[in-house]
Assembly symmetry: C2
Homo-oligomer: 350 residues x 2
DNA sequence: CTGTTAGCGCATTCAC
DNA sequence: GTGAATGCGCTAACAG
């Protein structure tokens, strides 16, 4: 409740000037250790605390970074943000979070308010179709890093996983299990990550001499409900698939429920793999094969990359890093047919 | 890259003074609509954007609020934070997040850095045993709101759920299922929420003429592993329980796995209820009964309460609200024994 | 080693 | 209606 104490207060108290106090507080080498001690002591006595806002205005650095994600209450983004926060915290940066709910307009608004707030950098997993908003950021010379959902722009770094490879690995695994008719649940393929997973799927089929069938690819939203519906469609076919690679763990689960409801067995009749390694996939009695995206690591790396740029933002040099993480296939019961494969299971650090 | 344009730039451009520009931009009534138009036009032309930092320093309000949680990558806290962000965003506030990892020291550090950053308010789910850090906040006259893990302090608002009632409801339900020997997995009971759940459990037993047995209460960490171990202990008893109320969904799941592994049936032999309504509890084939804490709503309400105080922070009046949310028991297969109860199931909006 | 001066960008009080 | 002056709290350039 008492008025905040400033460096002027402690200066007055010591009959010196505010500049000296500032220097003492900042360990400026050219200050007598005598006065430094004095300053530090009375600073403590007066309960002084630096006003980072004033410093920010003066220096032009707020020591805040903005993070923009579709939503925060998902296992994946929660973990990424955790990684980001843990990386920035020790460096004295605060993390501001914004949600877009996949809405382009809200994303643009968030970018604007973050810029107004003078953040020192922005990390984003974008839902944007345009690149104009990002050019606005770059024009202001504030560092930008994409993660997971990226955009290819000159001078902009990104941290993603190799979604193509993720799709490829999962599909290849299903083929290795002896599956020959492999369906795919795809997300919105105008979003690059979903398209990449789809392409990986397609390539794996091609490389193994399996014909790509258009009717085996179903576009779904990432919900149980859509998974059930899609599975219904598949099971109604004359020649239904004997495996499903889903771009989402939720649709995979929905499909599993539907398949079981129709009296078919997993993995005997149909093998299923999801994507994202949601926590529930390993908790199920019928645990679900999925592709892990190491979100925590992704967050930490994205933070490191941004930090590097923030620290060099005065320099003319542009850093452009494109970090691509390796997806890890986690094989579980939903796709493990044979007993011999079961031995592999343990090797695969299940 | 171009230098940021300030109100001075647009003033110079119009041969007026910065004060006038400021007034025009802020819709000050005593400004000619002519110059206002002019200002607005050239502001747009020059791509002017307000520097919230300068405003913050001037006004003493940063328009940032801090949120401190044990961790962000959990379903519960993720949802709470989502609610908080969604409530603050439309009001022009940014949300800064900090994690403590249940470490008291880190929590104190986070409080300090948030205060330095001049946040306008703090929301916290505390891991602190002391109240001194919170007094530091109050002394600075900055509003504080507890959520979920609260502390009772004069003049401080809180938003929690009735954990006692949650524990009571779950236990009562197990009793209604005909269970007579009911064990309890308790978290660290020096944390109030866990103690309350425990007390609710105890009271339900008492109210229904069931003896409380000390050996049926096992303290666990919120992990699958601890759940398995605890279940082992129970099953080794001469007179093992026929129901478990767990303070955590994770220990509940661990217990379920162990119980099944030992060849017992759920819910026939042992009924199980968890707590928190983690997403996986409803996804399991054997879905798990749990207590929902409406985290999204909790976040929104906490934000509203804080917002109210932030807006009145100049007034002398202290607002102290204690919002207690009603926990909702979600009955699922892990505790539903009888067919007749199965009818209830639908009524209970399963 | 320390004091003086100035400015970061804005809003606001007091004049006119 | 508008201008001039001031200060929010801090740091940095320039003196000495």
């Amino acid at each position: 409740m008492t008025k905040k104490t400033t460096i002027y207060d402690i200066a007055k108290n010591l009959n010196i000037t505010a500049a000296t106090v500032s220097r003492a507080l900042n360990n400026n080498p050219k200050i007598s250790s005598a006065t430094r001690e004095l300053v530090l002591k009375t600073a403590k006595a007066l309960n002084y605390e630096q006003n980072r806002l004033a410093l920010a205005l003066k220096s032009g650095k707020s020591h805040n970074v903005g993070v923009i994600v579709p939503r925060i209450d998902s296992s994946f983004f929660g973990s990424v943000i955790r990684g980001i926060e843990e990386e920035f915290n020790p460096h004295g940066y605060h993390v501001i979070i914004c949600q877009t709910h996949e809405d382009e307009n809200r994303e643009n608004e968030n970018i604007d308010t973050l810029l107004n707030a003078q953040v020192d950098g922005i990390l984003i997993s974008t839902s944007n179709t345009k690149i104009d908003p990002f050019n606005r950021i770059l024009k202001k010379n504030i560092p930008l890093v994409f993660f997971d959902r990226s955009k290819t722009m000159n001078g902009v770094s990104s941290v993603t996983i190799n979604d193509f490879k993720g799709g490829y690995k999962a599909t290849k695994h299903l083929i290795d299990q002896g599956c020959t008719r492999i369906a795919h649940f795809s997300g919105d393929r105008s979003i690059e990550i979903f398209n990449e997973r789809f392409l990986g799927y397609k390539q794996a089929l091609l490389d193994n001499g399996i014909d790509f069938k258009h009717e085996y690819v179903i576009q779904t939203k990432s919900t149980l409900e859509d998974g059930r519906k899609a599975a219904q469609l598949l099971l109604e076919m004359k020649n239904p698939p004997n495996a499903i690679f889903s771009s989402s763990d939720f649709t995979a689960l929905g499909a599993i429920q539907e398949i079981k409801a129709q009296g078919l067995k997993i993995p005997e009749d149909i093998c299923v793999s999801g994507f994202a390694n949601e926590p529930f996939t390993k908790f199920m009695e019928l645990s679900i094969t999925s592709v892990d995206q190491s979100p925590l690591e992704m967050g930490k790396i994205a933070a490191k990359v941004l930090l590097e740029q923030v620290n060099n933002s005065n320099s003319v040099m542009k850093i452009e890093k494109r970090v691509v993480l390796e997806p890890e296939l986690i094989i579980r019961k939903s796709s493990l047919k044979t007993q011999e494969s079961n031995t592999n299971l343990k090797k695969l650090s299940f």
